[in-house]
């Protein structure tokens, strides 16, 4: 018996686009072929635990971003201690942690991307560095210059080298870099998990909306504890070079 989760259709409801997510149990390949669906999200044999290799990818947990202004500092303080603990527990279980590091590109053709704030993210600077609390020596740092963590860099190669199938996306901001990286990860064939208490934005309502969107379109939203429980249950194992 195979359980298939899929998006059946997209529709307008109350001025919003809504993706209809469904799952079915099928016995034969014929039924699978006849499914009326847009995108298959996942499939697994009922009763079987399929171990999937995963990695945590954090977005923009950097000094300049975390200390941008008072509201941001407050938002980061609210989520960082538990998230740091989550990262430590996951590392202890062999889950690799990859930090996306936004770096200022002096040649960025977008003229509006050369503000004083953007220029704080100069490569090698303290401002651009990953927060001490979340960064360990074993972690991998991948630089990026755009919102999506996959844009024109080697993140995909890094994950592929570790045979990663599931990307656990955390960090900030939920509605920009986390959300776009989630979309890009899906398009590249990764399963996306987003811990609702492992992402942050200056405005809580932005995180709420981003989580709704990610749950609808590209991934599964769980808590950090639920994801850690998946690791303990053996459903998620750390990505590893072969």
């Amino acid at each position: 018996m195979l359980e298939i989760q899929f998006f059946q259709k997209i529709e307008f409801l109350q001025h919003r686009l809504v993706a209809v997510k469904k799952s079915v149990m099928v016995k034969t390949r014929k039924v699978f072929k006849n499914l009326s669906c847009l995108t298959v999200i996942s499939y697994k044999f009922k009763g079987e635990n399929i171990m999937k290799r995963c990695a945590i990818v954090t977005a923009d947990l950097q000094n300049a971003a975390a200390n941008k202004h008072a509201a941001r500092i407050k938002a980061v303080e609210a989520f960082l201690p538990e998230h740091t603990e989550f990262l430590n527990k996951m590392r202890a279980k062999g889950i690799p942690v990859v930090h996306l590091q936004q770096i200022y590109d002096p040649n960025d053709p977008r003229k509006y991307k050369h503000t004083d704030y953007d220029k704080k993210f100069i490569e090698g600077s303290h401002e651009a560095a990953i927060l001490d609390e979340v960064c360990q020596e074993s972690d991998i740092i991948v630089q990026k210059h755009r919102d999506s963590g996959f844009y024109d860099n080697n993140l995909h190669d890094v994950l592929q080298a570790m045979n990663v199938e599931v990307v656990i996306l955390t960090g900030m901001q939920s509605q920009i870099c986390v959300q776009t990286t989630a979309a890009d990860a899906t398009f590249r064939g990764y399963e996306v998990l987003v811990p609702s208490d492992g992402v942050s934005a200056t405005k809580p309502e932005d995180t709420e909306r981003a989580l709704d969107w990610m749950q609808k379109y590209v991934g599964t939203v769980k808590t950090q504890k639920e994801i850690y429980d998946d690791v303990l249950a053996g459903e998620l194992i750390g990505g590893k070079h072969t």
Binding site: F7, I10, E11, F12, L13, Q14, H15, R16, L17, L38, T39, P109, R110, K111, K144, H145, R146, D147, S148, F150, Y151, D152, Q179, T180, T181, A183, D184, F187, W213, K216, Y217, V218
Partner: protein
């Protein structure tokens, strides 16, 4: 709602095809030009040349970024003007091509743009007959801006395509996927992750339009390309110009799944997004199926769909019907949905 005279200066919203663009033209440009302007605001001007009708149109392009996944500013500059001529029912013949280039612009990039101009012009079967090149200092322009002017003629003297010719019960066909061009450009500009999944629809549509006109010209009452302001702005304009209403069925709008995802993420309505290879056609009910089938046979029209029809209800508005019966009024766009897409 602040209009041009209240604002007192030019703002980005004046260039995005919405209400403010229209206000700039009608309240400032046309009155100021006075009798030297015809005052007509169609996609192409229809001019009498010693008894023969010709179509003339002009457009400027400032797209950012100038290079995108499946095209560049050169391709957009040819296709945009070709399509403006074609939707007026004209057969494009000639283009002019003018550049404003920022000092230090790489020659290799310029050559690549010229290659795209050549390829698009070859596909559209037009000749470039005049051009101009101006170079400005660093920072005085953003890399390269292009202007093209197009000239066409009306086969069999067909000049009936006009909003005045739209009839009650006309069906509305949209020939391609909505919003892809805008989402592609925006995704490349900001690195949103959709750029490889959602490609620009930029294409010269004169070939497809000519095929349909050949057999069905009398049944095609009006056409408009869905560039700045998208379908929403075109339908609002049709309502204003025709004195009729429009009803569209929201789930008939042709949209790619990933484009919807992106629009929902950004909180923007795809109905207002700019396209560069997509038009709306207002056609008589009796010929709708034949026209639709013909369009779908063309590579640029395979996603064509009948999205609604023209009404003469008391409420002269653009009404969107949801599949749950919910009614949405589609308002004219005031200013920018997204800037510098074409």
């Amino acid at each position: 709602m602040k209009m041009t005279k209240d604002i007192g200066r030019i703002v980005l919203d004046h260039g995005t095809g919405g209400l403010l663009s229209e206000d700039l033209i009608s309240s400032i440009i046309i009155p100021r030009l006075g009798s030297v302007s015809t005052g007509e605001l169609a996609d192409s001007a229809v001019l009498d040349m010693h008894g023969k009708k010709i179509a003339v149109t002009t457009d400027s392009f400032s797209i950012d970024p100038i290079f995108f996944g499946n095209g560049n500013i050169g391709k957009v500059s040819v296709c945009g003007t070709i399509n403006d001529l074609a939707v007026s029912g004209a057969t494009p013949l000639y283009l002019t091509l003018a550049f404003i280039i920022e000092e230090d612009f790489p020659l290799a990039d310029f050559e690549q743009i010229l290659d795209s101009v050549r390829e698009a012009a070859q596909e559209a079967q037009v000749h470039i007959v005049a051009g101009d090149t101006k170079v400005v200092g660093l920072g005085e322009a953003d890399k390269i801006f292009v202007n093209t002017t197009g000239i066409g003629y009306f086969k069999h003297g067909r000049t009936h395509i006009s909003p005045r010719n739209i009839r009650k019960n006309d069906n509305i066909i949209v020939t391609g996927l909505l919003g892809n061009h805008s989402i592609h450009i925006l995704s490349i500009r900001e690195g949103l992750g959709f750029e490889s999944r959602v490609l620009s629809d930029c294409a010269p549509l004169n070939g497809m339009i000519a095929q349909v006109l050949e057999d069905h010209a009398p049944d095609i009452h009006f056409m408009r390309d869905l560039t700045r302001g998208g379908l929403g702005s075109v339908l609002s304009e049709v309502v204003a110009l025709s004195g009729l209403g429009v009803e569209i069925t929201m789930d008939k709008l042709p949209m790619q799944y990933e484009m919807k995802m992106a629009a929902d993420m950004l909180g923007i309505n795809p109905i207002y997004l700019a396209n560069e290879g997509n038009i709306s056609m207002f056609v008589s009910p009796k010929a709708t199926n034949d026209i639709l089938n013909k369009i779908r046979q063309h590579p640029y029209g395979k996603h064509a769909s009948v999205v609604g029809h023209v009404t003469d209800d008391l409420i002269k508005r653009v009404i969107g019907l949801g599949d749950d019966g919910q009614i949405t009024i589609i308002e004219p766009l005031y200013g920018r949905e997204l800037p510098r897409l074409c």
